[in-house]
């Protein structure tokens, strides 16, 4: 099979790459939206011009990130119709509604009140300004709900029936509150809040390292560390819930995550390697730990890929040796490893940034926190690869409790009118445009952060006439 002439493979590459790029900016902007709103609330209470200066810096950073998220988000909406026309026809009775609802209920709210944050300091009251900051964040959290609702439905379809060759909605609430929604939403938004908190701590650490704006740096570090420790601890609960749902609803994904070819008590690997050709997995493992996490019983047997391939629900659609098991295994374990680094960083940050603020003199911790956004970034990217590659070969997964027939193979979801040439053209264009976007964004970040928050007299001049 030649990859360059296979429309299904090229469509997957394009969707995966553009989604991964999009989901670099989205977690940052939702996460930073919270930091921004907290900071503006502080200003609302203190009326200290320094806090207004910090808000202004966060608005710039937030907006420059948000706009790339918005722009690259249009790609995702267009892609369903453009690249996945048969998928859109199959799921259209269900899948389009959350996208429309997201635009109607979240995007308008977000964009309008962001306009207030960027242009409105002198035009609206301080209270209106603060409320706008919270509304922008609330809208972004709500937007994530609609998208996770749509995505979770693909993972664990519910409330639908197969009628005339397509999925038709029969129970709105069952579809909306599908089995994986709650676990996957909390897991995802919690992860993006960690991302924002780590970015804020990284900015603060940079100012410490450069011996600049110490007051701003310490305040920012404390806000970031507080959000980071709360979300990192909550993650234990949400991640566990997600794992249980996968074990219950998506047995082939669960088996791929731990490289389980045979049905047996499933270990938790610390690290390892999957030999896909021979269907074996080796590495350092805790025996029975995955079974325990999924069921509460160390000895519970979880189905392996060889048996699942014989299961009538999945059977005939995959051969165990053709599944990308090692990719799912490795990304899942990288995510777990990154989580440990996240937790460690958050604990160190909270201990040393409160009290006397010892972090001011701790160069090694400043350096660690400066690079620490890499941890949640990798955890988020690898987590999504686990989730989306793990559901292959289906685009709509035939989950354990899903209605019969409501599933679709990824290769059946493509646009039949497309040729590989068209896809190669757009892949190339995406490469060029997205590289340009990333460079432009990185320049903007570096410029804003190097300039830092405004000096006090500049802020006072800025605020004049606003109240």
């Amino acid at each position: 099979m030649d990859i360059l002439s296979d429309v299904a493979v090229l469509s997957r590459i394009q969707f995966a790459a553009t989604a991964a790029f999009h989901f670099f900016f989205v977690p940052l902007s939702i996460g930073l939206g919270l930091i921004l709103a907290i900071n503006e609330t502080r200003y609302y209470k203190t009326r200290d011009p320094k806090d207004a200066a910090a808000t202004k810096l966060w608005v710039k950073i937030f907006t420059a990130t948000f706009v790339v998220g918005v722009a690259t988000g249009i790609t995702m909406e267009f892609a369903f119709g453009a690249n996945w026309a048969n998928y859109s026809r199959f799921v259209g009775d269900i899948f389009g509604a959350p996208l429309a609802a997201e635009a109607l209920l979240s995007f308008f709210l977000e964009s309008v009140f962001l306009g207030v944050l960027v242009f409105g300091r002198k035009k609206v009251s301080p209270k209106f300004f603060m409320v706008s900051a919270w509304l922008v964040w609330f809208a972004s959290m709500l937007s994530a709900l609609w998208i996770l609702l749509a995505n979770s439905w693909m993972q664990t379809p519910a409330g639908a029936e197969l009628q005339g060759g397509r999925a038709v909605l029969v129970d709105f609430f069952a579809a909306a509150l599908n089995p994986s929604l709650f676990a996957r939403y909390t897991h995802t938004v919690n992860a993006v809040l960690i991302m924002g908190a780590f970015f804020a701590m990284s900015v603060a650490a940079w100012f410490f390292i450069k011996n600049r704006n110490e007051g701003f740096a310490l305040k920012t570090m404390r806000i970031g560390a507080t959000v980071a420790i709360v979300t990192s601890c909550l993650m234990l609960v949400f991640a566990h819930a997600s794992g249980v749902v996968v074990a219950n609803e998506q047995p082939t994904k669960m088996a791929m995550m731990e490289g389980a070819y045979e049905t047996e008590a499933s270990p938790l690997y610390l690290f390892g390697w999957v030999d896909e050709a021979n269907g074996t997995t080796s590495g350092l493992k805790i025996p029975g730990a995955t079974s325990f996490l999924a069921t509460g019983d160390w000895n519970a047997a979880l189905p392996g890929l060889n048996d699942l391939a014989q299961d009538p629900r999945y059977g005939g659609n995959f051969k165990p040796e053709e599944l990308p098991v090692n990719l799912v295994f490795q990304t899942y374990h990288i995510m777990l490893a990154m989580y440990l680094l996240i937790l460690l960083s958050a604990i160190l940050a909270i201990i040393f940034s409160f009290g006397k603020g010892k972090i001011k003199d701790m160069k090694w911790l400043q350096r660690l926190l400066f690079i620490a956004p890499v941890f949640p970034f990798l955890a988020i990217q690898t987590g999504w690869i686990t989730a989306e590659v793990g559901r292959q070969p289906w685009v709509v997964y035939p989950g354990t409790s899903s209605p019969a027939g409501v599933s679709q193979l990824t290769s059946d979801g493509i646009s039949m009118s497309l040729s590989s040439v068209e896809l190669l053209i757009t892949l190339l264009l995406f490469l060029v445009v997205y590289t340009f976007l990333f460079v432009a964004w990185a320049r903007m970040m570096s410029r804003f952060i190097k300039a830092g928050p405004l000096a006090e007299d500049e802020v006072v001049a800025e605020l004049k006439g606003g109240e």
Partner: protein, 341 residues
């Protein structure tokens, strides 16, 4: 009508209203972007154009996202066929919208790349402003499709005909007229750029009138796709109304009533979308080969459409309320203090 239910008929109207909302609102800011290199000579004038749409362009663009989402959510085959059939054109629109969005946020902070951002703003506005009309011309004139509803013609080039080019130009002129009337009522008065925009809007509107008449003649006598006979009277009435409203916009512009010139220009955009909807009803995509995509064969289940109607009843009043807030907060002409944000 056979096959058209209460909710599917309602959603045809709602999709048309969303497209009209988009055409009016993003219309003026896309138009401002197309006029940007021609109308704004100095750095300050460029800043005025960008700032005039700064707080609102993003919300305006959400109308497109909502219209696309609504089409997907209510008539998925129409969404699937057009977006995959017009693939390369859709991607060009997409890349335009992407670089435009980023240029609008980044230009003000970045003089070093100023030229590149200015170019992104212009090209990113021009591509959608031209291609939307080409797409509209195609769904009206009809495209070849197979039984699955997949476009079977030549990619991109197969979509360019004299007629679809004419509809593209008509769309572009509507956007540019909207942009000129917007700037004329938003820029500081008196100022050079305000005077330039005010002077430019009238010839643009007159050319729009001429191209509209040409498109109408082509549509009726050359392309002549199936149109519902019962709606002929409505179409003639809407066409006449379009001419009246646009002439009123010219009249207001001549008298120097900038706000009313903009409002009547916007009304003409609304009427034009209604005319298009009345020319298509009950079809979404006409077919030169294969079967047209219609309300009856594309609509989602009544159950889904009922839930979407409920969501819309909650969401639409909120959306209108947000728009009221933002346009009220940033009402009136720009002053010097607005350019420093």
């Amino acid at each position: 009508m056979e096959g058209i239910t209460l909710f599917s008929g309602l959603w045809f109207v709602l999709v048309a209203v969303l497209i009209a909302g988009y055409f009016i609102l993003d219309g003026f800011d896309l138009g401002a972007g197309v006029l940007y290199p021609f109308i704004a000579k100095t750095k300050t004038e460029k800043a005025i154009v960008r700032r005039s749409i700064g707080p609102v362009w993003d919300g305006n663009e959400v109308w497109l996202i909502t219209a696309g989402g609504a089409l997907f959510a209510a008539f998925p085959p129409a969404y699937a066929t057009t977006f995959s059939g017009f693939y390369l054109a859709v991607m060009l629109v997409l890349f335009g919208l992407i670089v435009r969005a980023v240029s609008l946020e980044y230009r003000v902070h970045d003089d070093k790349w100023g030229g590149a951002w200015n170019a992104c703003f212009f090209i990113g506005s021009l591509l959608p402003a031209l291609l939307f009309g080409v797409a509209i011309g195609n769904v009206f004139a009809g495209i070849p499709m197979n039984s699955n509803g997949d476009y079977t013609g030549i990619p991109l080039l197969g979509l360019v005909t004299p007629f679809t080019l004419a509809t593209g130009v008509l769309g572009l002129l509507m956007f540019m007229s909207a942009g000129a009337t917007w700037i004329a009522q938003k820029a500081p008065k008196p100022s050079d750029i305000q005077a330039r925009a005010a002077k430019l809007r009238i010839p643009l509107q007159i050319i729009t009138l001429v191209v509209f008449l040409a498109v109408t003649v082509l549509a009726l006598f050359v392309v002549n796709p199936p149109m519902m006979a019962e709606l002929a009277i409505v179409r003639y009435a809407l066409a006449a109304l379009f001419l009246v409203v646009l002439i009123a916009a010219i009249f207001f512009g001549k008298k120097g009533n900038d706000l009313w010139a903009f409002l009547t220009q916007s009304a003409s955009a609304f009427v034009l979308v209604l005319l298009f909807a009345a020319s298509m009803f009950p079809n979404f995509v006409n077919a030169t080969e294969g079967t047209a995509i219609t309300i009856a064969n594309a609509a989602n289940s009544e159950y889904t459409l009922m839930w979407m109607t409920i969501i819309t009843c909650i969401g639409l009043p909120l959306v209108l309320f947000y728009h009221f807030i933002i346009y009220r907060t940033f009402r009136g002409r720009l002053g010097d203090e607005d350019l420093d944000y």
